[in-house]
Amino acid sequence: MSELKQEIVRRPDMSVEIAGIKLRNPVMPASGTFGYGEEYTPFVDMEKIGAIVTKGLSLKPKAGNPTPRIAETVSGMLNAIGLQNVGIDAFIQHKMPFLRTVNTPVIANFFGNTLEEYGEVAKRLNDIPEIAAGELNISCPNVKQGGIVFGTDPKAASEVVALVRKNLQKPLIVKLTPNVTDITVVARAVEEAGADAIACINTITGMSVDVNTRKPRIANMTGGLSGPAIRPVAVRMVHQVVQTVSVPVIGIGGIVKAMDALEFLIVGAKAVQVGTANFVDPTAMISIIEGIEEFLVEEGIDDIHDLIGSLRL
């Protein structure tokens, strides 16, 4: 009898569409926490997650920041990796062969040191047919050039998004920083400049001191705070951005469990990214996907779209 009952329960439709890309479910890794995908193959079935998001790519390889680069804080971690990456050429040569074998959309996160470099990387992505979309990083707090410089000023953000929009013949996701007074101003600016979707939030700038040595705990002095500690801030900002723009929003910030992801979906995020949790538990995304599905079944929801943006006020 119970077996029969289980068959009758239809599995809810978890698929969503972001900027024209169909995702089997709304869960994907946050850039920089999942390498180039291959690192996690022992733990994660790549064809169970919604998308793969690569480490941030730049035109030339980037060495990253001095060490120490990470420090654990209360319910969070500070990092100042400094966008270390192999560069777009090595990415195509060494990382794409694996990504080509996976039947899951690949989103290439990318950045530049200058406006021109942003434009150049965008052009290079056009040469890779298996890249489903580009995620433009204008929000890294840990590098002197590029990144956050563009993300904190609505005018600069608009300029870089417009240029990339012109050069990139693929859907464009723009990843925003929380390190601004009003995130809706930047969100509106990038939407107007041509973003097809917005991802937020990147890490919150923080600092931690070792009281015994009286030195900063990471060499860069400041770093980006991630993990459960930032989740309420992230949920608030995602809600604000959803209320402001009409393009889809991808929610990011301290998601560890399915319940955390649900908060973002309920305030209106159409998809979520899981970051620091991948370090804590390499199978975290799979548990989150299963947990969301279970919640939908329990709530009697057939289509995840009936949950998205269902915040009751």
């Binding site: 920089g32 926490t33 999942f34 390498g35 690192e39 996690y40 022992p42 733990f43 480490k55 060495a63 990253g64 060490t67 120490p68 680069r69 990470i70 420090a71 654990e72 209360v74 319910s75 969070g76 971690m77 990092n79 990796i81 270390q84 993990g227 459960p228 560890v256 620091t276 991948n278 370090f279 804590v280 538990d281 390499p282 199978t283």
Partner: protein, 285 residues
């Protein structure tokens, strides 16, 4: 490499502040090599947020709980209580649920079968040397272990090394066990006496830097196991990098200690940068 959702078999204090923990891990041993490590999730709830890296002390089997069941395969770590994560670990008991990821990283290269080997372990740094000693002895090498610590409390598992057939030499800063002084002084004497040897070491960074300098002086090959803070342990976060030899501002070389290491041939590292690093992370790989 696998993520084990498993439980603790035993967790015992073996010296003030030092613990040995056996964790149930079926199938772990056949893939594990000397010098590799695990990422250990102290408890299934948070905090602490991040896993902690620990060198593998050894793997093995315990008899089954009852007839008909297979023997219980375990991985054993030895750790020192230094912070919040290890303080929680010290309170864990048999049957407590934990998670471990491993075996991870590149261990010691012990393919050279000839000759004499000297292992230098500082405090908790002797952990990865135990499996190494076992493999070297099995290869027919003559193995000498130089153990150093601040006091006698920091000298661990001596009899177990001796049971492998390893000759042990102990030195402590305060002279409470073995000879008074630094383990590096003993190393220098041994290298004068046995010039044709290979050295393997793990321990606090100032000791590693001193061992490196001595091995350069005596033109002795050296493999060193580093202890760096890590977040992922699988080469994704790039948080645990160390500078490679020849690193410059213009041509930077950062090596992931979780993926390329934690064991490096010492000539491939930039010691001018490493020597200044003074982490003491209590048994991390």
């Amino acid at each position: 490499m696998k993520n084990y959702r498993t439980k603790i078999i035993s967790n015992q204090e073996i010296s003030p502040g030092y613990f040995r923990m056996k964790i149930l891990a079926p199938g772990f041993g056949e893939n594990a090599h000397a010098g590799q490590f695990i990422m250990f999730r102290v408890q299934r709830s948070l905090p602490p947020l991040l896993r902690r890296p620990f060198g593998i002390f050894r793997t093995g089997f315990l008899p089954a709980d009852c007839d008909g069941l297979p023997p219980k395969e375990f991985v054993e770590i030895v750790y020192k209580v230094v912070g919040s994560g290890t303080s929680i670990m010290a309170e864990l008991h048999e049957g407590d649920k934990v998670e471990l990821l491993g075996p991870l990283g590149n261990g010691f290269d012990c393919t050279s079968r000839k000759g004499e080997k000297i292992l230098v372990g500082g405090g908790i740094g002797l952990v990865p040397l135990y499996m190494l000693a076992g493999e070297l002895v099995a290869n027919g090498c003559k193995v000498r272990l130089l153990m150093g610590g601040r006091t006698r409390d920091d000298i661990l598992a001596v009899t177990e090394f001796e049971r492998l057939g390893v000759e042990t030499y102990i030195s402590t800063d305060d002279g409470s066990l073995g000879e008074a002084g630094l383990v590096t002084q003993v190393l220098e004497r041994k290298l004068q006496k046995y010039p044709e040897t290979e050295v393997f070491t793990c321990g606090p960074m100032p000791m590693l830097a001193a061992v490196h300098d001595i091995c350069v002086k005596y033109k002795t090959p050296l493999q060193v196991s580093l202890e760096e803070s890590m977040a992922c342990g699988v080469g994704a976060c790039l948080g645990c990098v160390v500078k490679g030899a020849g690193h410059t501002e213009e041509k930077p070389s950062y090596l992931c200690s979780c993926k390329v290491g934690p064991v490096f041939k010492s000539q491939y590292l930039d010691w001018s940068a490493l020597g200044k690093n003074d982490n003491d992370c209590g048994g991390c790989a």
